[in-house]
C-alpha cells in the first residue's frame, strides 16, 4: 500500500491537470461571455434573430423610441419619428452596427457575467437607455433633407450631447421593406444599414478650407495682410486648380468668404506637406472618436506622395482626403468652444430594471485642436463667412458661423453631382449648437446644404433656447 501510495502522484497530476482545465474553461467563459450571450441563437434575447426582450429607449424629452411589451419589440407611434431615428435606435436584427440596439444590447438586455440574463428573466427587460437625441429635431432634419441622401448631425459644443443624428436613406423599422431593400436596383436603399454620421466618409470639398486656414493662421504670420491672385484658376506645373469664378486679387478673409480655390491652393502649396500634415494630425485625422460604444470612421489626409498640383487640390479639400461628418462637427465645435471640443455622446443615462441610474453621461474633452488665439481667429473668419458670404438672412436670428463645401466627386463633366456640405455653429450663448450637413450628390452647397442646416437649426432654436 505504501508503494501504491507513493505512486499516487500520478493521480495528483491528473487532478492538477483537471483543475488547470477547469480554470482555463472559467477564463474562456469570462472572456467570451459578452459575445457568446449576445449571439442571435440566444433565445432568451432573440426570437427568429430579432431582438425581443430589451430595455426601453427614450429620447431626451422622454419620448419612447423602442420598448418591449409582452415579448414584442415596439417602436414610436409616429412613422416619421421611426424613420428619422432608425439609425440611432438601430434595428432589432443588428444590421446597423452603430445603432443603440446593437452597440448597447448588453445594456438593454441587462447581461453581465455575474447575473447572466437574470434581470431579463425577472423583469422581462434589461436596463433602459435615455438618449440625448431629440426625436422632433431628427424628424425636422430628416424632412429638411428632402430627396437627398446623406446625414445631419447637431451637438452641443459645450457639453458634447448629440441632439440630432439622422442618416438617409432610412426605412420604417416597424414595417421593414425587406423585399425592396433586398431587390433594390435603383440605389434607393444604397448603404441603408450605414449610419452615415458615424460610419460615412466623404470628400470634404471647401469645408476643408477651415483646416487649411487654421494651418495658415498658425504658420504664416502675415497671412491676413497677404493677397492672392486668381485668374479663375491657379496654374501649377502645367496644369491648374480651377476656381468657380475669377476673383482677381483677393485677401485672406475674402478668399474664405468667397471660397476662392486659387487662393487656398496657393496657401496649401506654400504651407507644404509637412505643415498641413501636422495640422490634420492635431485635429484627429487618422483616429476614430469613441462616441460611447460606437467608434467613428477615421478621416484620412495623405499628401506623402502628392505632387505640387495634388497638394493644391488637397488644400481645398479634394485629392484623396476623406472626412467623417461626426469628426468635422467636432472640428467646428472646437472652434466655437475656444480650441477643444467635448467628446460627443448620445447616451444620457442608463436605468437598471430596479430603477437605479447606473450610468449618467459626463462631459469629457477630446484632445485640444487649436490654440485659443487660433480658435478665436477662425471664429471671426467663420462668422465673417456667414455675414459677408452667404448672408445672415439665410440663418435668420441664429448668429451662425460656418463654411459650405461643394465637394467634387467626379472628374468628368456630366458625372456624379458634387456633395453639398455645411458645417457651422451658432454663436448665441443660449444656443451653443454646432451642425454638420452632408447631402450626397446634392449639388450646390449654398442652395442645398444651407437650407437644410437652417431648417434644422431654426427647429433647434424653438426647442432649446
Amino acid at each position: 500500500m505504501k508503494s501504491i501510495s507513493r505512486r499516487a502522484w500520478v493521480l495528483y497530476l491528473t487532478a492538477v491537470a483537471f483543475l488547470c482545465g477547469a480554470g482555463f474553461l472559467l477564463y474562456t467563459f469570462f472572456t467570451n461571455a459578452d459575445s457568446w450571450a449576445m449571439k442571435k441563437a440566444n433565445r432568451h434575447i432573440y426570437s427568429s434573430s430579432s431582438l425581443t426582450a430589451a430595455g426601453t429607449i427614450t429620447d431626451s424629452s422622454g419620448e419612447i423610441l423602442a420598448k418591449t411589451t409582452d415579448g414584442k419589440r415596439e417602436y414610436n407611434d409616429s412613422k416619421d419619428v421611426r424613420i428619422a431615428t432608425m439609425h440611432i435606435v438601430g434595428d432589432p436584427q443588428g444590421y446597423i452596427a452603430s445603432g443603440v440596439q446593437s452597440s448597447y444590447k448588453d445594456v438593454l438586455t441587462g447581461y453581465n457575467i455575474v447575473d447572466g440574463i437574470y434581470d431579463l428573466k425577472k423583469y422581462g427587460t434589461g436596463s433602459d437607455i435615455q438618449l440625448t437625441i431629440n426625436a422632433e429635431l431628427c424628424k425636422t432634419a430628416y424632412r429638411a433633407m428632402g430627396s437627398n441622401k446623406g446625414t445631419v448631425g447637431v451637438y452641443n459644443y459645450k457639453t458634447g450631447e448629440l441632439l440630432c443624428v439622422v442618416s438617409k436613406p432610412s426605412y420604417d423599422i416597424a414595417n421593414k421593406p425587406v423585399q425592396s431593400i433586398n431587390n433594390d436596383k435603383t440605389g434607393e436603399y444604397d448603404g441603408v444599414y450605414l449610419n452615415r454620421f458615424f460610419s460615412g466618409v466623404y470628400t470634404p470639398g471647401s469645408t476643408f478650407k477651415i483646416i487649411t486656414s487654421a494651418c495658415a493662421v498658425d504658420n504664416i504670420p502675415d497671412i491676413e495682410n497677404r493677397s492672392f491672385k486668381c485668374g479663375g484658376e491657379y496654374k501649377i506645373d502645367g496644369s491648374s486648380v480651377k476656381c468657380l469664378s475669377n476673383h482677381h486679387t483677393i485677401g485672406f478673409e475674402k478668399a474664405l468668404n468667397q471660397s476662392c480655390n486659387s487662393a487656398f491652393a496657393q496657401i496649401a502649396v506654400e504651407l507644404g506637406t509637412q505643415k498641413l500634415t501636422e495640422t490634420v494630425q492635431t485635429l484627429g485625422f487618422g483616429k476614430s472618436i469613441k462616441v460611447g460604444n460606437v467608434n467613428t470612421a477615421k478621416s484620412t489626409f495623405d499628401v506623402s506622395n502628392a505632387s505640387k498640383l495634388d497638394l493644391g487640390w488637397a488644400g481645398i479639400g479634394q485629392y484623396t482626403t476623406r472626412v467623417n461628418p461626426c469628426h468635422m462637427l467636432t472640428v467646428v465645435g472646437a472652434i466655437a468652444n475656444g480650441g477643444a471640443s467635448p467628446n460627443p455622446y448620445f447616451v444620457k443615462n442608463i436605468t437598471s430594471p430596479d430603477g437605479n441610474i447606473t450610468f449618467s453621461a459626463k462631459t469629457e474633452m477630446l484632445d485640444t485642436m487649436f490654440t485659443q488665439s487660433t480658435a478665436a481667429k477662425l471664429n471671426e473668419l467663420l462668422r465673417s463667412d456667414v455675414e459677408n458670404g452667404y448672408g445672415d438672412y439665410r440663418f435668420s436670428g441664429l448668429e451662425m458661423c460656418g463654411k459650405t463645401g461643394t465637394a467634387e466627386v467626379s472628374s468628368e463633366d456630366g458625372g456624379l453631382r458634387p456633395h453639398a456640405w455645411f458645417v457651422g455653429y451658432s454663436q448665441r450663448e443660449d444656443l451653443p449648437l454646432a451642425i454638420v450637413v452632408v447631402a450626397e450628390n446634392g449639388g450646390s452647397a449654398s442652395s442645398v446644404a444651407i437650407p437644410i442646416a437652417n431648417k434644422t437649426m431654426q427647429k433647434a432654436e424653438k426647442l432649446f433656447s
Binding site: 501504491i4 507513493r6 499516487a8 491528473t14 474562456t28 467570451n32 441563437a41 428573466k121
Partner: protein
C-alpha cells in the same frame, strides 16, 4: 513501529460533520423542488415532484441514520458527494422530463442498492478474488452480446433495448465497474507475469469491443483507467510511456487510414463555424452557459433544455445555465475531491486491492467528467460521454454508485463500528 504510527494517524483523521452537510444538501434539494414547482409548465404534475423529492430525501436520511446511528459508522464524505450529485441529476430530469422522473428516481435507488451490495462484497477480500474470473467472463460476454444485438443510437452500437424500449441498458457502463474490480483483484495476489498478462488480454478485449461498437469515448475512458491501474501496480513509468506512445500512434494511424473517424472531429476548435450544423449543440451550450451567470437562471428557466439530448450530452451546460457557474464548478471540484480522498487513504488501505480500486475508480470519474465538460465546451474533442451522476440515464447512474463503492471501500472506517475505532 513507524508503520503503526502512520496507520494510527490515518485512522483517526477527523471525519466531516455529516449532519450539517446533509442538512445543507437537503435544503438545496428542497429549494430545487420548489423551483421546479414554481417554474413548471402544464406538463408538470405537482404530485410527481413531491413524491420524487420526498422519497429521495427520505432515502437519503434513512441511509445516513441507519449507517451512522445503527451501524455506528463515522465517515460519510463519499456518500455526501454522491447524494449531492445524484440530487442535481434528479432535479434536472424531473424538471425537463417529468414523465421520466420516476425512472430516474428508481435508477438512483438501484444505484444506492448497488453501492450497498458492492460494499458488502468488497468487505471480504477472498470473496473478491473468487469473483474476479466469473465477473471478467460475464463482462466480456455482455460486451460481445451488445456488439451483436445492440441497437445503434447516435452512431454507437452500445444500447441493449428490451421490450420495445421499456428497458434500455448500456452494458459498457456496467462493465466499467467490473473492469476496475477485475483489474484490482487480479493484481491483488502474487505478482506473477501470468496474471498480469491475463489482465492485459482482458483490457485489450474490452477496449477492442468498445472500438467495434464505435463508442470511442468509453474506449478512451477504459484505456485511461487501464493505464492508471497498470502504473499503480507496476510503478513502471517507462512501460506506461511505451503503451501510451503505442496507443497514440495507433490512434493517429486510424485517423489517417479511416478518414470517417477524423471527420467526427472536424468541428473541434471550430464549433462556431459549424453553428448551424454539427456544432449546434455545443454552440448552444456555450451561449446558454454564460447566459446563466454565476448564480443561474433557476431550475426550469433555461433554454438549453430545448436542445437535443440536453439532459445527457449537455448536462454541464444545463447546470451552468440553470444552477449557475458557481454550482457547476463546485460539481467539478467534487470529482477532484474524490480523487484526493482516494490518494489520502491509500497508505492506510487494508490491501493493495482497495488502494488500486479506489484510485482507479476516482480517476475514472474524474477523467469521464473531464471528457464531458471539456468536450462539450470544445476545449477537447467531443466524444459524447455523460457527466457522472448528473446526466440522465439508469445504467450510468448505477455505474457511478458502483464506482463510489470502490472508492468508499478504501477506508477501513467503512467496515468498522465507530465505537470500536475509538476503543482501538
Amino acid at each position: 513501529m513507524s508503520e503503526k504510527k502512520t496507520k494510527r494517524k490515518y485512522r483517526y483523521r477527523k471525519p466531516v460533520n455529516w449532519v450539517f452537510l446533509l442538512m445543507l444538501i437537503t435544503a438545496f434539494q428542497i429549494f430545487c423542488a420548489c423551483q421546479i414547482l414554481l417554474n413548471g409548465g402544464e406538463k408538470l404534475n405537482d404530485n410527481t415532484i413531491l413524491i420524487v423529492f420526498g422519497s429521495y430525501i427520505t432515502v437519503e436520511w434513512v441511509y445516513f441514520i441507519a449507517f451512522a446511528g445503527v451501524l455506528r459508522r463515522k465517515s460519510f464524505e463519499v456518500e455526501l458527494i454522491a447524494f449531492f450529485l445524484s440530487g442535481i441529476g434528479l432535479a434536472l430530469t424531473t424538471s425537463v422530463y417529468p414523465d421520466k422522473a420516476y425512472t430516474q428516481l428508481i435508477a438512483v435507488f438501484l444505484g444506492i442498492a448497488v453501492f450497498i451490495v458492492l460494499l458488502w462484497i468488497l468487505s471480504d477480500i477472498d470473496r473478491v478474488i473468487k469473483l474476479r474470473i466469473p465477473i471478467a467472463v460475464i463482462s466480456i460476454a455482455a460486451l460481445v452480446f451488445t456488439l451483436i444485438f445492440a441497437k445503434e443510437i447516435n452512431g454507437a452500437r452500445n444500447w441493449i433495448v428490451i421490450g420495445n424500449g421499456i428497458l434500455s441498458i448500456q452494458t459498457s457502463e456496467i462493465v466499467k465497474v467490473a473492469f476496475i474490480f477485475v483489474g484490482a483483484a487480479t493484481l491483488e495476489s502474487l505478482q506473477s507475469t501470468k496474471l498480469l498478462t491475463r489482465y492485459i488480454i482482458f483490457a485489450v478485449v474490452c477496449i477492442g469491443l468498445l472500438f467495434l461498437m464505435k463508442d470511442f469515448g468509453t474506449a478512451l475512458i477504459f484505456f485511461f483507467t487501464f493505464i492508471i491501474i497498470a502504473f499503480l501496480r507496476s510503478g513502471d513509468i517507462k512501460t506506461i510511456f511505451l503503451i501510451c506512445t503505442g496507443a497514440l500512434m495507433g490512434g493517429l494511424g486510424v485517423l489517417t487510414f479511416k478518414p470517417y473517424v477524423a471527420k467526427r472531429f472536424e468541428t473541434y476548435r471550430h464549433v462556431w463555424e459549424f453553428a448551424d450544423s454539427k456544432g449546434y449543440q455545443q454552440v448552444k451550450l456555450l451561449i446558454y452557459s454564460v447566459s446563466g451567470g454565476l448564480f443561474g437562471l433557476g431550475l426550469g428557466n433555461g433554454k438549453l433544455r430545448g436542445v437535443y439530448a440536453a439532459t445527457e450530452d449537455l448536462a454541464f451546460g444545463m447546470v451552468c445555465e440553470e444552477f449557475g457557474m458557481i454550482i457547476a464548478f463546485t460539481v467539478l471540484l467534487t470529482f477532484v475531491a474524490l480523487v484526493v480522498y482516494s490518494i489520502r487513504y491509500c497508505a492506510a488501505a487494508r490491501s493493495s486491492f482497495y488502494a488500486i480500486a479506489a484510485c482507479a475508480a476516482s480517476a475514472l470519474l474524474l477523467f469521464q467528467a473531464a471528457l464531458h465538460v471539456f468536450g462539450v465546451t470544445d476545449l477537447l474533442p467531443w466524444t459524447g460521454v455523460t457527466l457522472p451522476f448528473i446526466s440522465r440515464g439508469g445504467s450510468s447512474m448505477m455505474c457511478c454508485w458502483g464506482l463510489v463503492a470502490l472508492i468508499k471501500a478504501i477506508d477501513v472506517k467503512t467496515y468498522k463500528r465507530y465505537d470500536k475505532i475509538i476503543r482501538n
